[in-house]
């Protein structure tokens, strides 16, 4: 598996580079490789403005978002011991979206408002999710998560009918400021995820077995949960809720590079970045000059994937709460 993993790493890095090149060239105006190099050297040209002000921040944002969401999904799956656990399906992202909107209406003066409110929303959803008996029963967890998601989506719709700022869940119109915010939040979170990857491996053992070897189960569980929540809500704060990346990427990654989280997390990061960029690039080029949002693209890809995963998968496990 380890030798295969190296090939897959090479493959995804190659794909990523090719897709970045295509994403730089593609858009309402197609720029060939030569035009692209001319555009990048001539800072006064319209092409330079298009590439540097519109395409580059958008590409950077989608890379960071994809990586963050994929890693957040992998962390949630490790903690909940459930292959379809993911912040988007468990209502974390929609709660973050709702709180972000609420913050925009009630606390417009708050500095760093979108991120702080999204984080608070994610935390509220996480507390609701982990406070009942849902933890011990993987089916109950998913049902509670879906209900939580529906509730926050409903609340958001209720609120957005009178709002001036509505969540969009697209990379369209993202500025350098947005990209920089995402870059800082994402790089910090992803770096911590790489450091804590062995903890995700420990959670493959039962709580009792972990206690026997002196591992503080609660500390590692909550650290990984909060990290996953932070990564997912940071994306929601800037872009909005994007579904399924966290389910599709880690599950495909397990098949390609194996189940060791120290390999799986960095691979998911790269594969998630590629998937998000590919989905966004496709979404903004297939029906030029209009475009399909990244959230819609992912719903179309991710929905059927989850159905196949559940129909053919090995089943859900759940965590021991004792």
């Amino acid at each position: 598996m380890k030798q295969h993993a190296n090939w897959w790493y090479g493959g995804v890095i190659g794909l990523l580079l090719v897709t970045i090149a295509i994403a730089l060239m593609a858009g309402t105006v197609w720029l060939g490789p030569r035009q692209l190099s001319v555009a990048l050297s001539d800072h006064g040209s319209q092409a330079f403005v298009t590439v540097f002000s519109l395409r580059v921040p958008r590409i950077l944002s989608s890379l960071i978002c994809g990586g963050s969401l994929a890693v957040a999904g992998a962390l949630f799956q490790a903690v909940f011991r459930n292959p379809i656990a993911d912040p988007s399906i468990l209502g974390i992202s929609s709660a973050a979206d709702f709180f972000k909107l609420g913050g925009a209406m009630l606390l417009p003066w708050l500095p760093g408002r979108a991120w702080l409110m999204a984080l608070l929303g994610g935390l509220v959803a996480l507390v609701i999710l982990t406070s009942g008996r849902a933890l011990a029963d993987p089916f109950r967890l998913i049902i509670v998560g879906v209900a939580l998601d529906a509730t926050f989506v409903g609340l958001q719709q209720l609120l957005s009918s009178g709002a001036t700022q509505v969540s969009h869940s697209t990379f369209n119109g993202l500025t350098w400021a947005d990209a920089t915010t995402l870059l800082i939040l994402g790089v910090v979170g992803l770096f911590v995820a790489l450091v804590l990857a062995p903890w995700a491996n420990y959670l493959k053992l039962t709580d009792a077995a972990l206690k026997n070897v002196g591992v503080p189960v609660k500390v590692i569980r909550w650290s990984l949960l909060l990290l996953g929540m932070y990564l997912a809500t940071s994306v929601t704060a800037v872009v909005g809720a994007i579904p399924f990346v966290g389910i599709v990427v880690p599950n495909v990654a397990r098949r390609l590079v194996g189940h060791d989280y120290q390999t799986l997390i960095p691979f998911s990061m790269l594969a998630g970045a590629w998937l998000m960029l590919a989905a966004d690039t496709l979404g903004r080029t297939v029906i030029v000059p209009s475009e399909i949002s990244a959230a819609t693209m992912m719903a179309v890809i991710g929905g059927p994937f989850v159905i196949i995963l559940l129909q053919r998968g090995r089943g859900l496990h759940g965590m021991s709460t004792r």
Partner: protein, 256 residues
């Protein structure tokens, strides 16, 4: 290891442990036997500090178990439970590496080379890179034993370790435990098979209804009346050629 007036009560349940005092001789195999619901597994969990003692104390090397930090305890006491569950794929080597966690900081990765001696002791070296779920029940049990040994414990606790093993592997495991005891490890196990307990143990604990009925050498406790009283069933001891005394349950008078 010693128990002094140890009691434990499960919340809202009748079963528990009441005023148990006894010793587990160092470097020997002690087996706890008794009928279902006697509190055997509860006792083992108390020895592993998986349950909090309500009264009394358990001492290890003269110190109360409660005085040990989690890590220090994990370096001294290891437990192999009846059935281990893995929530995701792990290789044999990865599982055994978890046994080394008490000797590393949480952010350190356990080097794979560190588990080589434990894989060798349990005969798992050729299977190091195999996925645990692809192994037979007997092989899996050895994996968990190897992980427990990787903790370098002074005390090894085993809860019904032979449950999912065939006769061959049961014998194999019992002999391995005797070899481990010979290296100085105190082995404490719970067994259902009384004959196995008498045959492979140096010391026995007979428990019933949460109390210690008696403890002693197998030769001293091989008494039909004592066992019949403990297990609440007629018992006879017969002599089997090449095996020696064998404990059998005989039908009650009304059954015939």
């Amino acid at each position: 290891m010693e128990c002094q007036h140890v009691s434990y009560q499960y919340p809202r349940q009748a079963a528990g442990i009441t005023d148990v005092t006894g010793t587990f001789p160092s470097g020997q195999v002690t087996t706890i036997i008794g009928p279902n619901g006697a509190g055997k597994s509860t006792l083992l969990k108390l020895l592993a500090r998986q349950l909090p003692i309500a009264a009394g104390q358990i001492t290890l090397a003269g110190q109360s178990l409660n005085n040990y930090t989690t890590k220090a305890l994990a370096q001294r006491v290891a437990m192999v439970t009846q059935r281990h569950q893995l929530y995701d794929d792990m290789t044999v080597s990865e599982v055994v590496q978890t046994g080394r966690l008490p000797y590393h900081s949480l952010l350190q990765t356990v080097p794979a080379a560190e588990v080589a001696p434990y894989l060798a002791t349990t005969g798992l070296t050729p299977l190091a890179d195999e996925h645990v779920q692809n192994l037979s029940g007997g092989q899996q049990q050895r994996v968990w034993l190897a992980a427990a040994l990787a903790q370098e414990p002074a005390v090894l606790l085993l809860d019904e370790p032979t449950t999912y093993l065939d006769v061959h592997y049961q014998q194999d495991l019992m002999q391995q435990l005797r070899r481990l005891a010979a290296t100085g490890i105190t082995v404490i196990q719970v067994l259902h098979d009384i004959n196995q307990a008498f045959r492979f143990s140096d010391w026995l604990w007979l428990v019933k209804q949460g109390r210690l009925v008696t403890q002693g050498r197998p030769a001293d406790l091989r008494q039909a009346n004592l066992l019949a009283e403990t297990f609440q069933t007629p018992i006879e001891i017969v002599d089997v050629p090449r095996l020696g005394p064998y404990i059998v349950q005989v039908p009650e008078a009304s059954e015939n």
